[in-house]
């Protein structure tokens, strides 16, 4: 009995000393393809650096609605010390005052990404990577149909012709799966020269927008596309990996879907096609950063982990996994990006998407995702045949006007 007590006391002492020597930092991001990346970074690439800094990282990936998780956890006081922030909903997190500005040197990062995370003059998150949209195409389908592969100089009209030709030759294949989602449609809407917010900060669905909208929704009746929901899919990549469509409009994240669903797919990537009238292509920048929890008991250690996770070494490794592009400007000339595998090509094209004519971050100020809703509803109502283009756009414009009025 006495011996057991001594043993127990010894053990608890041991536990105390080991707890005191390494600081536990809880970090959290979303699931999907990210799990392997972050886990690889902390258990492999950065293991030595973390050990040297005396930090033990506890990684908790969250599948599901991450923004809801983090809002909940921040208000409960149970949020992780360091977590992902998507610029898309970043204002909701930054506005709570529960977020600590970064202490890292932000100069090596791409300035447009740093701008996206600047709130009240302070940089609230260290951008970890970014993505843009590109046009992925199935080489076998184009070969079988005898149609030339899409090029980087494609216009909406030439792409549509190719897709129509494919569907005519191979009736079981459609050109593209269209989705009623601004996150994909924006590549065309922005290409038309339309801007989401005009000089007065209002959203006006002008003639340019209408041109893009009519073209995008017109792809289905033209025989160049099918609505994703009509073939039982939720994203353009789902149709693409099942070889139901010849092309997809996605970012580099499509690689995860291809590895799981069609590991032998013979595919390539081209730039987003241009609007024949404006002569420009549009694109969206998706980016995610690491944010430190202001209520964290180990803020300094969390800042250190954020720096390590976005260090050049970490980003080089992430880049070579082929799933996301580095946020550090120095890595843009990386030799890996010049390779010819489909995964290297999609990353190179996604990177080039940054210099498309009209590029906007996937971010809508304080309105957050609610801003997209009128456009998504309009797309959906036209794609399902409930309304024509003019009626749908008039309804969307009315909603935007309502939002602007509410704001004032």
């Amino acid at each position: 009995m006495h011996k057991t007590k001594i043993l127990l006391a010894g053990l608890s002492l041991l536990a105390l000393t080991s707890a005191a020597s390494a600081v536990d930092v809880r970090i959290s991001g979303w699931g999907g393809a990210e799990v392997a990346l972050v886990n690889g970074l902390i258990t492999d690439v950065l293991a030595e650096d973390l050990k040297a800094a005396d930090i033990n990282v506890v990684y908790e990936p969250v599948d599901g609605d991450f923004s809801q998780f983090i809002t909940n956890a921040l208000s409960a006081g149970t949020a992780p010390d360091l977590f992902y922030t998507d610029i898309f909903w970043s204002r909701a997190a930054f506005g709570t005052g529960k977020v600590e500005p970064t202490t890292a040197d932000t100069s090596p990062f791409a300035p447009n990404l740093i701008d996206a995370f600047t709130y009240d003059g302070k940089v609230m998150a260290l951008p970890k990577d970014f993505n843009t949209l590109a046009l992925q195409y199935n080489k076998d389908i184009f070969d079988d149909a005898g149609v030339a592969y899409p090029t980087d100089d494609e216009t909406w009209a030439t792409l549509q012709d190719k897709l129509v030709a494919i569907h005519a030759k191979l009736p079981d294949v459609n050109g593209l799966c269209v989705v009623p989602d601004y996150a994909r449609f924006a590549a065309f809407a922005l290409g038309s020269g339309w801007e989401p917010f005009n000089a007065e900060g209002k959203t006006v669905l002008d003639g340019n927008f209408k041109r893009a909208f009519a073209w995008y929704t017109g792809l289905v009746p033209a025989g160049a596309a099918v609505a994703a929901a009509d073939v039982g899919e939720g994203w353009t990549g789902g149709c693409f990996t099942k070889e139901l469509t010849a092309v997809a409009v996605e970012g580099a994240w499509i690689i995860g879907g291809i590895r799981d669903g069609a590991p032998n797919l013979n595919w390539g990537t081209a730039r987003i096609p241009k609007d024949p009238e404006s002569g420009q292509a549009g694109n969206l920048i998706f980016t995610v950063g690491w944010t430190v929890n202001a209520d964290s008991a180990v803020k300094d250690a969390a800042q250190k982990v954020a720096e390590l996770l976005t260090s050049e070494k970490a980003q080089q490794w992430v880049l070579e996994q082929g799933l996301a592009l580095p946020s550090r400007s120095a890595l843009v000339d990386n030799p890996w990006l010049q390779g010819d595998t489909p995964e290297q090509t999609v990353n190179r094209v996604v990177f080039a998407g940054l210099s498309d004519g009209n590029v906007e971050p996937f971010f809508f100020g304080d309105l957050g995702g609610a801003w997209m809703e009128p456009i998504n509803t309009a797309l959906n109502s036209v794609l399902t045949g409930e309304a024509d283009v003019d009626t749908a756009l008039a309804a969307a414009q009315a909603k935007f006007d309502g939002m602007a009025a509410q704001k004032q």
Binding site: G31, V35, P61, D63, W235, G237
Partner: protein, 470 residues
């Protein structure tokens, strides 16, 4: 007028007597027929969707169009082939795998139009990296690093092919290629057990795969590549692959252990805790409202009824803040104590009111206290009501998603199974990916409720008190 009044006022028995026996029988027959049809209709709709979902949960791609009812996972011949391959790969006909000493013989038969030469397909064991989820993080061993693939021979044959357009039959040549995939003897010592042995066979477009030891998981590149995710699945590994993945792909990244069992355990703990609290509160309150005369009883009963009309969302924020201030967030206690017992109190009260007062009075004469009467006499005789309450409370607690979602956020091992199921979503760029995994997880999660119903269903229909009074 008099007639109608008479008819409606007449007891049903009297009316029945006035009908000729044949008409009565006919009426009964039709009534029975209609009831039967309605029940079958409801059962078909309920059970039909259930069955389709279950069948889909076995598939590699539950979203496949058109929806097939005949596929390898429900084909006994494929089970036998899979068991045999599993035995060859790792000596395990049930769960298969690829392990040191494994030697798999695999054959594939191709055909092509007469005059076209059938060339050996390009065979390889590919490196299949999982694209997402915990599997992508934890997969360490790949069959490609340990497998030696050799073509061991080929045999010519022929088959009859019917032209779908003309209906004419033609004899086409076939060639069967046999491969041996062996675990590299040089790496056998201490070599790992590998769950999946993928295989790709690429052939020119004019050449079609018509038979193979195990059907390919899918054709890729518009028929050019026959692709197997795992040629050593074992019988159970083939049929219940999604179910196995539910366990293996919900692993804790630090320890590599599956979290799923822990989630089931957490759910069980919370459900049992809630059932216990519900029963205690509902029987005490129900008994008090049924038997004790005190001021404000009607008001309290009214409040209990009123509480049933308030949606959980209304009290959500205040409850949440209370739990936060009590420091109960992220503990099972928060979810156990979020109770809404209004309907349970009502049920118990109604039941206690039907309990013969005389028995209680007799006990009182014998010197029993109120609590003694409740615990020793009334409750043991109220088992049907208690069990119905328990089942309803268990089911509600087990299926509860809202409260566990907001009250328990971390660590991942503390979640309940319903919230844990969320992590089975494999998303690429915000889109749902893996429905097979979600469906399989959902089916595993309903097992406890099903077992509970099967075990206790007789209590729901029987009533000991009514039997005792007979």
């Amino acid at each position: 007028m008099t007639d109608t009044t008479l008819t409606t006022a007449m007891p049903a028995a009297a009316l029945r007597q006035r009908l000729p026996p044949e008409a009565l029988r006919r009426r009964q027959f039709f009534a029975l027929g209609w009831t039967y049809l309605v029940i079958i209709g409801v059962a078909t709709v309920m059970l039909g969707t259930f069955l389709v979902a279950f069948v889909a949960s076995l598939k590699v791609d539950p979203l496949e169009r058109p929806f097939r009812l005949a596929f390898d996972q429900v084909n006994p011949l494929a089970w036998v082939a899979a068991a045999d391959l599993g035995r060859q790969g790792a000596g395990d006909p049930w769960w298969g795998g690829f392990a040191p000493g494994g030697r798999i013989v695999f054959s594939a038969t191709y055909t092509a139009a007469p005059g076209t030469e059938i060339v050996p397909p390009d065979a390889s064991v590919p490196r299949r990296r999982p694209g997402s989820g915990v599997a992508a993080a934890l997969t360490k061993y790949y069959a490609i690093d340990y497998a030696l693939l050799t073509e061991t021979g080929s045999a010519d044959g022929e088959m009859s092919v019917t032209d779908p357009a003309t209906g004419a039959s033609e004899i086409w040549p076939t060639r069967t290629f046999t491969y041996e995939i062996a675990f590299d003897p040089a790496k056998a010592e201490g070599g790992p057990w590998i769950e999946r042995t993928p295989l790709d066979l690429s052939a020119p477009t004019g050449q079609q795969l018509v038979a193979s030891t195990l059907n390919p998981t899918r054709f890729e590149r518009r028929g050019r590549v026959a692709s197997w995710d795992n040629i050593t699945p074992g019988a159970l590994g083939l049929v219940f692959n999604n179910y196995r993945r539910v366990i293996t792909e919900t692993a804790d990244l630090q320890t590599g252990n599956s979290l799923f069992a822990g989630w089931m355990w957490n759910s069980l703990l919370i459900a049992v805790g809630r059932v216990a609290m519900t029963l205690v509160v509902a029987s005490l309150a129900g008994y008090a409202l049924a038997r004790l005369k005190f001021h404000g009883a009607a008001l309290i009963f009214g409040l209990v009824l009123f509480s049933m009309t308030i949606p959980a969302q209304v009290t959500f924020i205040s409850n949440y803040l209370i739990f936060r201030d009590l420091g109960l967030l992220n503990t099972p206690w928060a979810v156990i104590t979020v109770l809404v017992v209004g309907s349970h109190v009502l049920l118990m009260k109604q039941f206690f009111e039907t309990f013969p007062k005389e028995i209680e009075e007799a006990a009182m004469v014998d010197g029993a206290s109120r609590l003694g009467i409740l615990t020793r006499i009334v409750l043991p005789n109220a088992m049907p009501a208690v069990i119905v309450n328990a089942i309803m409370a268990f089911q509600a607690a087990w299926n509860d998603f809202f409260w566990p979602l907001v009250l328990i956020t971390s660590p991942p091992s503390a979640l309940t199974v319903q919230v844990g199921l969320l992590s089975l979503r494999r998303s690429y760029g915000g889109a749902q990916g893996d429905w097979g995994l979600v469906l399989a997880g959902a089916f595993v999660s309903i097992i406890p409720v099903l077992v509970l119903f099967i075990l206790f269903q007789r209590y729901i229909v029987s009533n000991q008190v009514s039997e005792g009074v007979k």
